[in-house]
């Protein structure tokens, strides 16, 4: 556990020791603002809620989280430090968890920096605080799931561009299977509604939406945690396979 903490510390120092962290944070904040106010018509909606803020998160994360995840293992492999890391007295589990948690923590920091948003809403109106909190929890869980998937694709290659593109596509699939235009299309093609519902239930949209509404369902949490666990375990297997 102690070693995992040291890995987290090293990773965070590496994020903030390079421009990556600042570029990411600035772009993330600009884009959330832009989408919420310009594209989402936050003021026009005349609603004291964060619905128009959260609705963009699955799409924003789809592009931005892979930018954090892509270097996770690809960079270690390219620099040769993977060999150093895996010959230290440290289990693969500790290394994987350490790197993942550091990235997740970083995404959490980015998310926390959007707090002026709910504060503004509370100041301007009288919103229901419950959905705001569950929305944040859901957004954080979703970013973790995306990050774990990006980390998994990053373990497959030493090339960060390939890593980025494959993780964007993987995240896109997770969004799209639950995206209404796609599910409607599936229904029109004659897929049975049970099948479409099942596919949609695999989507982050499906689970994130209920959280935005203020429902903190255990099943949604289990969904995100399962997704992360699956991606992290796969990362371990891929890293082991790639070495032999």
């Amino acid at each position: 556990m102690n070693k995992t903490l040291h890995i987290i510390k090293r990773e965070l120092a590496s994020y903030f020791g390079s421009p990556i962290a600042y570029v990411f944070l600035i772009i993330f904040l600009i884009l959330t603002g832009f989408f919420t106010f310009m594209m989402g018509g936050f003021f026009q909606s005349d609603e004291a809620s964060l619905a128009r803020f959260f609705v963009w998160h699955p799409w924003l994360y789809m592009l931005l989280v892979p930018a954090i995840g892509m270097r996770m293992w690809a960079e270690e492999r390219r620099m040769g430090t993977l060999e150093l890391l895996f010959t230290l007295p440290l289990s693969a589990k500790q290394a994987i968890m350490g790197k993942f948690l550091a990235g997740w923590l970083f995404l959490g920091i980015a998310l926390l920096l959007t707090l002026p948003m709910p504060i503004t809403v509370c100041y301007l109106g009288d919103p229901d605080v419950g959905p705001m909190i569950t929305g944040y929890v859901g957004s954080f869980l979703m970013s973790g799931a995306y990050l774990a998937i990006s980390g998994m694709t990053s373990a497959c290659t030493r090339n960060q561009v390939i890593s980025f593109i494959t993780s964007v596509v993987a995240c896109l699939l997770l969004v799209l299977v639950g995206f209404p235009p796609v599910t409607n299309l599936l229904l029109k093609w004659g897929a049975s509604s049970v099948l479409v519902d099942f596919a949609a239930s695999l989507s982050v949209m499906f689970h994130f939406e209920s959280m935005q509404r203020g429902v903190l369902d255990l099943r949604d949490i289990i969904y995100f945690v399962t997704l992360m666990a699956f991606a992290l375990i796969s990362t371990g297997i891929i890293l082991k396979q790639k070495r032999s």
Binding site: L84, L88, P89, S91, K240, R243
Partner: protein, 317 residues
Amino acid sequence: MIKADGLVKWYGGMLAVDHVSFEVQKGEVLGFLGPNGAGKSTTMRMLTGYLPMSEGSVSIGGHDMAEDPLAAKALFGYLPENAPAYKDMTVEAFLDFAASMRDLTGQKKRDAIEKAIATCHLEKVRHQSIDTLSKGFFHRTCFAQAILHDPPVLVLDEPTDGLDPNQKHEMRELIKRMGRDKAIIVSTHILEEVEAICTRVIIIDKGKLVFNGTPAEMCAKSAGAGRVTIRVQGVSKVELTALLEGIPEAGRPLEVSEQDGNATATVPPAEGRKGLAAAIKAALDKKGWSFDELHTNQGRLDDVFRTITSLDSANVK
């Protein structure tokens, strides 16, 4: 301390390491030689638990690498090929991270870092980011990481690669000094290095172990080993040849030449006879001839290396 037993590594359908076994005891510096692509780095990666082996076993200080990797890994320091390091960190932060991974804390950790910085002469660059370092400093930073926790076992993959002659010399002295109470394995293809620091040598070629012995034994395998070279003043080629042919310890063929009134000869020892140099000296003294050179050739490592390893393996990676 290090025990490799029947190591085999398959890469897809290619056999990279073929049943390699050896042991390194405390107080030994084992030189690990072989042409490029012979399987040196692959073997070292299996020794350090980075690559899983296809067959065989490795144990470090009695801990099996497959069964208890953490205990085995705690006992060695490893300098991988090309000396990787986290380039976004400063030298000190990198060593601090490595020390934390070795379970060093508090004062013990600070002392270990200071000692490693002093040993590797990194004082000047300790606060510098690693990606701004010259190759020599970069390399020594990674080396510092390997010796940080004063491990009983060191695995060094080309430790003098990229160092200038002074640094090379110093690194060799350091390895020699540490070799007194550690088990060290050093891969290299610089043969002088083997003579300078190693107490034992193994040679690997096309994945197979082809030699295991001391540097002296390796030299003795050289075709030139045991030959005596003499230069006698004021004597003609014919006179010297006649004298040498009368010595029973001298073998054939004799190589005698004459230059500036001095005769030079290289004499192989006769089969099964010893004391060739002494016999020649006795014969020269008896004649009253003065000589300014008389020595027994030790054999050359590179001759042996070339004979043992075939050239074509250098092209297979």
